[in-house]
Amino acid sequence: MESVGKSVPRKESFDKVEGRAKYTRDLRLAGMLHGKLVTSPHAHAKIRSIDAAAAAAVPGVRGIVTGADCQELTGELLADRPVLAYRKVRYYGEPVAVVIADDEQTAWRAAGLVHVEYEVLPVVSSPSRALLPGAPLLHEEVEKYKRYGDVYPVPGMNIGNHLKIRKGDFQSGWEAGVVKVECYTAFRPSDHIAMEPRAARAEILPDGEVHIRASTQAPYVIKRFMERYFGLDPGQVVVHVPFVGGGFGAKGAVQLEFIAYCASRAVGGRLVEVSNSREEDMISSPCHIGLEAQIKMAATPDGRLTAAQITLLWDGGAYADMAAVMAKAGIDDCTGPYRIPNVWADSLAVYTNHTYATSFRGFAHPEVTFAIERTMDLLAKKLGMDPIALRLLNAIGPGETTPTQVLLDESNIGNVPACILRLRELMDWESGQRVVLPNGRIRTKGIAALWKTSSTPTDAGAGAVLIFNKSGSVNLMTGVVEIGQGTKTALAQIAAERLTIDPSLVHVSFEVNTKTNPEHWKTVASSSTMMAGRAILEAADDAIRQLKYNAALVLQVSPDELELAEGRVFVRGNPQRGFLFREIAMGYESENGLTVGKQVIGRGSYIVKLTRLDPETGDGRPGPQWSVAAQGVEVEFDPVECRYQVLRAYTVIDGGVIVNHRGAVTQMMGGMSMGLSWATRESFLYDNQERVLNPQLRFYKITHFGENPDMVVDFVQTPYHEGPYGARGIGEYGTIGMAGALANALSVAAGVELFQLPLLPETIWRARGGGSVHDPV
């Protein structure tokens, strides 16, 4: 192949490195109003009254919107969330009102004058406490909320969604097992910290057309939701998305767009911007989910898994929104990439008084993988088996079924054993998992195996349009958002490959405009290259058909006799008889000016073929294919202070055929860095009233560039027959196994099992018995 598989530099890089790429807030517009949020200082309280008179009296204030003005309830599957808190606040930082003014400063000043009287309510601090009898209810009548799709809230409890897997016969599988382990892991919510905080602008034109410009991964979902919640004709909603400064799932949720729309509605449709400060982005907009997981596994004495019981209690925060979907994604693949014939699993999106959650890179998989991979290491220790040998023995593959009972074949799953074996080689596993250095420090290795399918809605799809320039180059339009992942360059490579031209001749549209770009479900789920790639192949084939039609007219041959190479259409066996694309893409103009043929416009689309899951057994098809990976971490641990350094991190991924090699390597490295940052330091801290103590980067630390360990990335390339040129999906995978691999390495180093994130030195010190006896570990 000429283009696919090559390391083509990203098309947007020059604009980005020179600071010329434009993001949502970069365009300064005269007459634009600014909305500033008034947020809740309490995690759970009744709103007794809102007095906005003083704020409204500030010169330059154009309007103030509160929950009473926009009572539409929103939510991905369960509509439980008001656009602005109404009568009650359920998390610290929840938007209560928006003050709209001529400029940002005035809005800010006036927002401080909105007086809200609260009656503080008792708080729910964790998923397990939320389920205790007598726990305060966040939503008194959860059963009355409107549902959009398969969602199972539990009346009278803090449960927004309850999903189940019942595969095989758990009881007999459990009894067949001889060696049994039980593992309880937990971590609290955290944040994505995309470089660009979320921002939205909305304007309602006099003819009723609504324009939204936003930093989002989901422009077409915004369009759909404006119909769903506000009754707008989707033909009258136009969403514009310029470059997006990192998404990581945070921008798959729709929040500020609704607030901006309601703000515009309140000021006669004028253009209003509502944008987050860093601090608001951390606590007022949806965050990275927390999880308490309980895993039980049984195995035969020689290490074959016979049964697993898995209970996932997601800290979805105050509203079900994407947490309800993540509860499903987490249970779809809940066993990890292992063959477990008997599975009993429950996944609950639990309400707590925390910021509500949304997707985070890996979509429920980094979280579940941490629990599963800790359990696998516990089991290996109990069996006296090498952790790699245990994983190899139980690796899932063709002929076996997933937890939702999808039959795997040579195409729809990558090669798990090949990834593990390659990892073993790269990590020099044979040289030992634990070495004590002369200075007393301990070097250890830890691994994790992982898999993931997309868990998209059953109608997720993509479209593509190819148009030609007079020079013979093409313009490629899709609805994929460029969020720093480099997908558009990979898509250009796919188009170039099919059209037999250089990728530099494929011009991609970076800005998405939902009025003109064909629909793309969302830029999430490591699925854009696969879905849009398929659509592009169809569009390219459509264009080729038209090119051949034009050429055939002029050459007086049948289109079947023509073929393509190096940007030309020519007669098979006689390459001189043919035309460059530029001679025929707009029709062929003969010497006397007579033009024959048609302008070539290629179109293509793709829709995933999935099914809904059975509510009682989980039986169903949640995604088209499973990319798989094995990851490892090497650490050096100081047993005195319990500090450590991550020396090296490894990823061996089977993402099918790799479209852009260097792009894929850097995507894995970014993912590993993010996974390690989360596992080593990221977490919200709460006081006893569940107010966030560290909603700013001064105290919420992420790894800096330069703190990264050495990173080793390699690929196994098992083609996915339905993917474009055999590609699967890779975007999120680098993140997924890092926490599990790190915790496994550190547990070996510290000589004590570590079940909590983040893995701070003090946490490890306590687990090893540091601190007073009264302090719980």
Binding site: E104, Q105, E641, R681, K701, H704, P761, E762, G770, D775
Partner: protein, 274 residues
């Protein structure tokens, strides 16, 4: 965005700065000296600090002083932490400065800003406490010499320089910083030790509410004929206050790290130091 409006002044001399401050105060204004600006900007954008007049003191020559005067070293309060570290004049001060914030931020943070910071760690004060340095403080009555042990600025007073004896700056020293996880973070423990030829001097940040030097603890550490472990244990009994217990680290863990750091630092210093 800084959500409030303010006037910007750039006085050219210490006298102008102090007079201007006093005049603005008399007019009922709320002026603030502005040097590196890192605290003013980061707190200002959150509304945790509000001012209506900033007096940018970076162009006052005396605040940029860096060098030797007689047998003293002179550090202008307006020097950036990177300039202080890169000068190499006072190795211990350089070591402390080099591990305060990140490089980009240290291009802005000034010595005076760190010494007068509202963030409580003020790590660069430790080397000055250990060397019994003096500050030059400007007020409306002119300049005053103030021992670093007694440095408290009244509103409108301006820290101009710090003077340290050259011989003291060359004392063998050790400094150790422990953080929660990241290298760039506030200290759970910042320990600075020097040996003045007669005994060890010790100063701390991150341990108690404010940075401190403790003569009591030094006495314990210098008790002749007593094993190191016993001296350290006695020194720890003489901590001047409660150990901080907050979101960065518990009092237990800080105490543990302090103990370990003292052991590490004392061994290094008694074994020769730098």
């Amino acid at each position: 965005m800084i959500p409030f409006d303010f006037d910007y002044y750039r006085p050219d001399s210490v006298g102008q700065a102090v007079e201007l401050y006093a005049r603005l105060r008399a007019e009922g204004r709320n002026p603030i000296y502005f040097s590196g600006g890192t605290e003013i900007i980061t707190f200002g954008r959150l509304g945790q600090l509000v001012t209506d007049a900033v007096l940018d003191i970076k162009s006052i020559p005396e605040l940029g002083a860096l060098g030797r005067s007689g047998d003293h070293l002179v550090f202008g309060a307006g020097l950036t932490l990177n300039a202080v570290a890169e000068s190499g004049l006072f190795p211990l001060l350089g070591d402390v400065a080099r591990h305060t914030a990140d490089h980009t931020t240290r291009n802005k943070i000034t010595l005076g800003g760190n010494l007068c910071a509202s963030i409580p760690y003020r790590e660069t004060v430790l080397p000055f406490l250990l060397t019994d340095s003096y500050a030059v403080v400007a007020g409306r009555q002119g300049n005053a010499w103030v021992s670093m042990h007694e440095l408290r600025l009244a509103p409108g007073e301006l820290l101009v320089q710090i003077w340290t004896e050259q011989s003291a700056a060359r004392w063998p020293s050790v400094t150790i910083k422990k953080t929660k996880q990241d290298e760039v973070d506030y200290p759970l423990v910042r320990l600075a030790l020097v040996h003045d030829g007669r005994g060890v001097r010790a100063a701390f940040s991150g341990v108690c509410e404010a940075p401190f030097r403790s003569w009591d603890m030094e006495d314990a550490l210098n008790t002749p004929g007593v094993p190191l472990e016993t001296r350290i244990a006695e020194a720890l009994r003489r901590l001047p206050g409660q150990v901080i217990d907050d979101q960065l680290g518990s009092a237990d863990y800080r105490y543990y790290l302090l103990h370990h750091s003292l052991r590490e630092g004392m061994s290094a210093l008694e074994g020769g130091g730098r």
